[in-house]
């Protein structure tokens, strides 16, 4: 390398365009970015901000359907824009490496981890296969993976999500690159797993003095990782500052709004006067085949309140929803609505029960039929449950759209593909409301959304509850969401309820140890948070 200066990456006036409907639309609109050797830059913004596109550009790479339309990208003084494909290929994986959001999807399912690890060093001629495999074990150890000698010989599906994400970081380190692009590496992980991955990534990046671009939408996470933070919105830079400065004194309104999102709280709501729960589960066990996923679940939901069910993936939260909906018959125990035992299978329940209990799913994308216009999406439950037709149905569809704050004239004839993520989730809410239910299960309804959009959905759900006296069972892994909307909190772990109570009671110490672990794993907007938690845990043994 001829360039001895401290400057590793120098991006000037970069324009990247994406093809949409036959024309090229700008995705990144003239951004400058510099990075010194060993420095970590955090890129934050909502989806569509151009974070990933900008990150990939540092590798001279544009996703298919995108092109680098202008500007300059210099890596250690070498221009990447317009460089021959072979030059760029030799640089990728060797000098600049990439860590993807979902390690489970980014590892090839057909090969063992260590074979995928050694691919880049061997093919780029950095090491022999034997050397690479020895080196892999060393890096697996540095990444604090269990059984570093052996774990590489497993297939991706045999390794947990958090471990895979660390194995992917190790793979990115294989050629000891100058720069690693981390593209939302912990977004898909549970909070308790995220903390381990964050700690391991930070350690290895610091020890090898590797520069990094850390892309995330989670401010509290980026605060732990980055030296500097750059905020993006719709392909433009909003502001950039040193991390502490940015957290303490954001200059721009947009940045401030990002900071403020987590502050939505509503007052606890009292149960209705009857004092009788709307839904009760008694001693419910459920399993998939021989695998037991619910073990002795007892809970009762008060009418007009929101019960939040929290827990990590695999804790049985979604199975709980399936049992209540009658999609998975329980092995034993009963589900009662207003004191009446429900049939274990939805198709044996009468229409009235089916109408009264509705569900909203996590992925609004896949929950809507892509060929149905909004009129049809909302019209079908009106017809099916309430027998509405013609003008009455049309009027009710318009009313529902108004309720979810979408303009009927604009949206009624649209297809799901013509809506944003937040709008799709609103339509799913309207579809549930169309049946005029009393009880709605919300299964991670905000998890796939940006924080600002998610907050809008939470406020909408809250308003509807107030106006219509709805009862919610809110399944989530996000404690911030629980804090903002729950009246009653149920904490689940490995198919059991480990703690439940009124929100204030659960969030006040003393906690159940698992609740404590969950609460302490939620990143805070404080650059010292990760160190503090790790120290506390080390001290506690």
């Amino acid at each position: 390398m001829t360039d001895t200066s401290d400057l590793l990456l120098d991006i000037r006036d970069l324009v990247i365009e994406g093809r949409s409907g036959g024309t090229w639309q700008p995705i990144v609109k003239g951004i400058d970015l510099t990075l010194k050797r060993g420095e970590i830059l955090g890129l934050i913004g909502e989806s569509g901000a151009g974070k990933s596109t900008l990150g990939l550009a540092a590798m001279g790479y544009a996703k298919s359907g995108c092109r680098i339309a202008g500007g300059s990208i210099k890596l250690a003084g070498e221009e990447l824009v317009g460089a021959p494909a072979e030059t760029l290929r030799h640089l990728r994986g060797k000098r600049v490496a990439y860590v993807a959001q979902s390690a489970a999807a980014a590892f090839n399912p057909a090969y063992r981890l260590i074979r995928q690890y050694s691919e880049a060093p061997v093919k780029h001629g950095v090491m022999s296969r034997q050397e690479a495999e020895r080196d892999a074990v060393q890096l697996y150890r540095e990444m604090q993976l269990p059984n570093p000698e052996e774990i590489g010989f497993r297939y991706p599906h045999q390794v947990s999500g958090g471990q895979l994400q660390r194995a992917m970081t190790a793979m990115a380190m294989a050629c000891r690159p100058d720069l690693i692009i981390f593209d939302e590496p912990t977004t898909a992980l549970d909070v308790t797993t995220q903390i381990e991955v964050l700690a391991a990534i930070r350690k290895v990046v610091r020890e090898h003095k590797t520069a990094a671009i850390y892309i995330t939408h989670d401010l509290a996470v980026v605060a732990q990782m980055a030296d500097r933070i750059k905020v993006l919105l719709k392909g433009d830079e909003i502001e950039e500052a040193e991390t502490r400065q940015m957290l303490a004194h954001p200059r721009e309104d947009y940045t401030k709004s990002l900071w403020a999102v987590r502050e939505f709280r509503r007052a606890p709501r009292a149960p209705d006067d009857t004092g009788k729960p709307i839904l009760t589960l008694q001693d419910v066990d459920a399993s998939y085949g021989t695998l037991q996923v619910l073990d002795g679940i007892n809970l009762s939901v008060n009418r007009g309140q929101t019960m939040a069910v929290v827990g990590e993936s695999g804790s049985g939260k979604s199975t709980l929803a399936r049992v209540i909906m009658g999609l998975l018959p329980p092995d034993k125990g009963s589900v009662r609505l207003d004191g009446k035992t429900l049939s274990p299978l939805n198709r044996h329940r009468d229409k009235g029960v089916q109408r009264r209990v509705q569900m909203i799913h996590q992925m609004a994308d896949t929950a809507l039929n892509p060929k149905h216009r909004i009129r049809e999406v909302l019209g079908r439950p009106l017809e099916f449950f309430l027998g509405m037709k013609g003008a009455a149905k049309e009027a009710r569809i318009r009313e529902l759209l108004t309720m979810i704050e979408l303009d009927p004239d604009t949206f009624i004839d649209r297809l799901p593909s013509e809506l944003s993520g937040g709008q799709k989730q609103r339509v799913c809410i309207a579809r549930a409301l169309a049946a005029e239910p009393d009880f709605i299960i919300c299964d991670e309804v905000t998890s796939a959304l940006d924080q600002i959009v998610a907050e809008g959905i939470l406020r909408l759900l809250d308003r509807l509850q107030r106006e219509m006296g709805l009862t919610y069972l809110f399944i989530t892994h996000d404690l911030a969401t629980v804090r903002s909307i729950a009246d009653w909190v149920v904490v689940m772990q490995k198919g059991q309820i480990v703690e439940q109570g009124a929100k204030d009671q659960v969030f006040q110490p003393p906690h159940h140890p698992y609740t404590e672990l969950l609460l302490s794993s939620v990143p805070e907007m404080d650059t010292e948070w990760l160190d503090r938690v790790l120290n506390d845990r080390r001290a506690a043994g």
Binding site: Y61, R92, S102, A105, N108, A110, A120, K123, H157, Q158
Partner: protein, 318 residues
């Protein structure tokens, strides 16, 4: 028991069950024929004694289910009875014919499968390029013509015009291996042209389906060559749908070659079947059908099992 063994055994059991059902259907065919087979075959003038002797000889007495089990038991041991038309044992008649058919099928498969998969990978690599369009167009054209037409064009070109290959694929037990390859080249080429398109297009589609997946993008971001990304990262994960289409086409190579055999006067099962049908030689038809059905079923089981093995989740459980 490992899940893979379990699945393999259950598929085999299903295959055998299917074969039994097919054998019942094939056997019933003879019962469903109008009239009495003995009088039909021997004609109106036959005497009581000759008819009784015929019935005895072809085992036409006794209840249907008993005769079915006797027929099946002998068939399993390779004894399909004797031909109605020339009184020779059917197993003898069929053995050489079946050998010829399987030889031609294997010959065509060894040319067609590698060509189809490599062309499919190249088409996926250079998708939407002139090369891709040319390959798709050419293979589609080949599959669109009737097979006898393709066969006659090849004969016209390679036998009549250039005189490189014989137009008749007449082989017998004494023909040497190399000579056999030479004489059956044109029928093998005809079959190749007919089956390549389907397999090639499935390979192309299965690979292109995977190209947008994160692990394929990851391979690019690790700086791997484009060909390596297709061959090493995409193909192994696309193998299941490809295997299934290959199996269907292999089955076609055995079962669907009647026209090609007729054109090249090749002594295969297809020819035998055509002759037997025109002579109303029912036991021969039954035997040939059973072999065709078994081929179909076995190839499909093999495809099923191979695509299961290609799935690392099943091969290496947690």
């Amino acid at each position: 028991m490992s899940p893979i063994l379990k699945i393999t055994l259950s598929r085999l059991a299903m295959g055998i069950l299917t074969l039994v059902i097919v054998s019942v259907l094939i056997f019933s065919a003879i019962e469903l024929l109008p009239g009495d087979i003995a009088t039909e075959t021997l004609g109106q003038s036959a005497t009581e004694e000759t008819i009784a002797a015929f019935r005895e000889r072809f085992n036409l007495n006794g209840p249907v289910h008993m005769r079915y089990f006797e027929w099946l038991a002998s068939a399993v041991q390779g004894d399909f009875g004797v031909s109605l038309s020339n009184q020779r044992p059917i197993s003898e008649l069929i053995a050489q014919r079946a050998g010829n058919t399987f030889f031609l099928a294997a010959y065509a498969a060894l040319i067609a499968v590698p060509i189809a998969i490599v062309l499919g990978m190249l088409a996926a690599l250079y998708r939407n390029s002139a090369f891709d369009k040319a390959v798709s167009g050419a293979t589609l054209a080949a599959i669109s013509f009737p097979e006898f037409f393709v066969a006659y064009i090849l004969v016209l070109l390679f036998s009549v015009t250039f005189g490189w290959f014989p137009s008749l694929a007449n082989v017998d037990a004494g023909t040497g291996f190399v000579e056999r390859l030479y004489r059956t080249f044109l029928p093998a080429l005809t079959l190749t042209l007919i089956v390549v398109a389907h397999m090639m297009r499935m390979t192309r589609a299965a690979i292109i389906n995977l190209l947008a997946l994160p692990y394929v993008e990851m391979a690019h971001l690790k700086g791997m060559r484009r060909w390596r990304v297709i061959a090493i990262h995409a193909l192994p994960n696309a193998i299941a749908p490809i295997i299934n289409v290959v199996a269907l086409n292999l089955a076609y190579l055995v079962v669907g070659v009647v026209l090609v055999e007729v054109v090249f006067v090749y002594p295969g099962l297809g020819q035998l079947l055509v002759d037997a049908v025109s002579n109303r030689d029912v036991p021969v038809v039954q035997a040939a059908c059973l072999i065709f059905a078994a081929t179909y079923i076995l190839l499909n089981i093999a495809a099923d099992i191979l695509s299961i093995i290609a799935n690392p989740r099943l091969l290496h459980p947690r």
